[in-house]
Subunit: 453 residues, 2 copies
């Protein structure tokens, strides 16, 4: 038998401490901000029944589902079926997103009428792994169910803007559009309703491939040149335009009642947000479609300068959350791309110093180990993160260990019999070289001054 690989499976990742500290930092900010908006967390199981999952993500999604093989008698029975296939061999699979579980939870429990929930958990997709694309990755969703009020749109946009502020993003935009604006532009361009989805896929690429590229795509998709030009004229927008004038401009050019009503909704939303953290970041983006057919109203997407892909998006989707229940449940939400936020913050050096591992390595010479551990307990009670060098060794070796990758303790404590007898400790600031002997009871306070300065 060949030795098993020690790497994680393809598309999967081990998170070592430094990376995990960065992930925890982002997740903590998200939790704190969403909590301050009155959102509450839920978690749902990794494993769901396939009857819950299948048919919710389109054919492609169904094919990307991880299915759990039947066991024992169930497996034996399945394998006895003439022409046994995938559907016979599994009836459970792994969570594919956080929206279908939300819909299941809303149908199953007696929740508040306006359920403001966030959920930060991994999902699994058996996709082809690639650079920055994983088969296990976190989603980070925030949604308000139970109301069609635009206050819900404003609250999710404000909460997301506050998250990005607190993570250190300053220049981002929340690009806004509306499903009914898109539809109205299609109608006003005399494009057949059957080609709506196809046309929107092309339009959505405007910021990546430019008008010339979109023109070509629209032609390929069977849209007449005249219609294509009209549609391109509608979606051509000055990216730096203030949103209210941009909306008013399109309203004047788009003689379609439902489209005008949707533009009015977006104007109202922008006015609603005026006093919130979202205000400075809202932009009208008539080309934004996000390719998702389930949006029924406003559509959002976060854009950051010099980044082709988005940090997240969302919108109103009034027909989805009720799918497992008896009644319609309106909903609006935002999904942050946690993995992408992490990559951008890493590349741009946006992480603050993160507490990780010991800040003090406790080294010991001729002191009794029990006395060393007693000092460690006292230092920890003073709020210092302490690792005790576990073996008898020369001081140089112990101090050298403090500088090892993965340890990197900034301070050392040195204990000999003399220190122990006097209830003292020699503290060494390994960066500055400063060395002081202080009473153990005062060590935490000294470390605190080093830590701060």
């Amino acid at each position: 038998m060949s030795k098993a690989s020690t790497k994680p499976p393809s598309g999967m990742r081990d998170f070592l401490p430094a990376e995990l500290a960065r992930r925890a930092h982002v997740i903590d900010v998200v939790r704190r901000v969403y909590g301050s908006y009155g959102f509450v967390p839920i978690e749902t199981p990794t494993i769901e029944n396939l009857s819950t999952l299948l048919g919710k993500y389109g054919d492609e999604g169904d094919q990307l589902l991880y299915r759990l093989l039947h066991r024992r008698d169930n497996l034996t029975r399945a394998l006895a079926i003439e022409g046994v296939g995938e559907a016979d061999l599994a009836d459970q699979g792994l969570r594919y997103d956080l929206t279908v579980p939300l819909a299941r939870v809303v149908a199953n429990y007696d929740l508040p009428k306006y359920f403001k929930r966030y959920q930060i958990q991994p999902v699994w997709r058996a996709d082809r792994p690639g650079r920055g694309r994983f088969r296990e990755f976190y989603q980070c969703d925030v949604d308000i169910t139970g109301t069609t009020s635009a206050i819900a749109e404003a609250e999710v946009c404000a909460a997301v803007a506050e998250v990005l502020h607190q993570l250190g993003f300053a220049e981002f935009e929340i690009r806004l559009n509306h499903r009914e604006v898109l539809r109205a532009m299609i109608r006003a361009s005399a494009i057949d309703a059957a080609l709506e989805g196809s046309a929107l896929v092309a339009i959505d690429k405007l910021d990546k491939i430019g008008p010339e590229g979109v023109r070509g795509e629209l032609a390929e998709r069977g849209i007449a040149p005249e219609s294509a030009e009209r549609l391109l004229a509608f979606v051509a927008a000055d990216p730096d335009a203030e949103p209210l004038p941009a909306l008013a401009d399109l309203r004047g050019r788009l003689a379609d009642e439902r489209g005008q009503a949707a533009l009015d909704e977006l104007s109202a939303l922008i006015e609603l947000c005026a006093g919130t953290p979202a205000a400075a970041h809202l932009r009208f983006a008539p080309d934004l479609a996000r390719g998702l057919s389930y949006y029924t109203g406003a559509i959002f997407e976060i854009a950051v300068p010099d980044l082709a892909s988005s940090l997240g998006g969302g919108g109103r989707y009034d027909d989805l959350v009720g799918m497992f229940g008896k009644k319609k449940v309106p909903a609006v939400g935002f999904s942050l791309g946690l993995e992408r936020i992490l990559v951008v913050m890493e590349e741009r050096g946006m992480f603050p110093p993160l507490a990780l591992g010991p800040e003090l390595l406790l080294c010991w010479l001729d002191a009794a180990p029990a006395a060393v551990l007693a000092v460690a307990a006292k230092l920890r009670a003073q709020g210092v993160r302490v690792e005790v060098f576990p073996e008898k060794a020369k001081l140089g070796k112990q101090l050298g260990y403090a500088d090892t990758p993965g340890v990197k303790a900034p301070y050392a404590g040195i204990l000999g019999r003399e220190e122990i007898d006097a209830a003292m400790i020699t503290l060494k600031n390994l960066a500055s070289g400063a060395q002081v002997r202080v009473p153990v009871a005062e060590a935490g306070a000294l470390i605190a001054t080093w830590r701060e300065g």
Copy 2:
């Protein structure tokens, strides 16, 4: 097609906000305490190769593994195999514990020599679900690899004791034994080495079924009555005895050199812990075996009064972590039973008040919604967790919503046009009935005094 069930699959759980807040509280304490001991977190993927998992948990474990069904061509190829079976249909499965992934990680990366890691993640076992037994549950492991020093044992015991203290447990015991003490007692009882494992399973039940029950079990397992009596005499211990005298007593009665050396190790460990949070909790438990064959030295288990099952356990296991690598990696660790800790803390009312959901519901009458959202932003910036009532409604309905299960906001803010014009807010303490109108800029400070009592 019948409507899909909205319940989670059997053995799986949805965690709604209140329960999740309790879980987060426990996990936060664990993280903070382990961090203060210099432990660092890792996370490993949900999905592992079956070549990593199989054969590590015994035959029973292999049968409880969740396997992921092959997809597309791989599935077609597998189904074409004559007499296709389980092994053909899957080569990946779900994480079964956190120890095998640790071993894989230690073999795969260049980590510090003394790797002090903790890991808090769910694991999956296709076990028969039952009361308090789930198919997806969290494990919470803390381990030190790379040293045989007893300081490592002392550090994990101290860290676990500190976690339990900070969670509010006062009366717990850390029961201690040693693999070589168990072996020596078996030898000294003239029990065949081949029956060692079987005899230990019986002995491990002493605190549950008593000496009479163990006597019966030992007889059933083919152990001669005389041997059974000798073994029972060795393990009979006064549960309240101080550990050092108890160890000395057994040392006098157990004339077996390796056994005596192991007893000396335990005495040294207890002395090492004297100045640590573990000190008051250590007890010698000669009947403790924990049924796990992989322990090579000290064995630990946490016992809490009036609780039959343990809150966690661990020990030294020097032969396991190196299994994927080229060299032996000594290790010692502790696994806390997170799910059981949660149940006990819940039953015994040990949770502090946990921040959850909005503390203030912002109600509004004839105020413009945009102005209401601007006030919400100001209150949040003052540290208040605010939910905005999203729809136009009578004040009584809005205030009633604050008391809804799942919302339970203790305070309400009321905004009319008058308040908005004056930059004031009417705050209502819903428990006391107190109602005050204050400038919005001072609302956070007033809420803070209400919050504190």
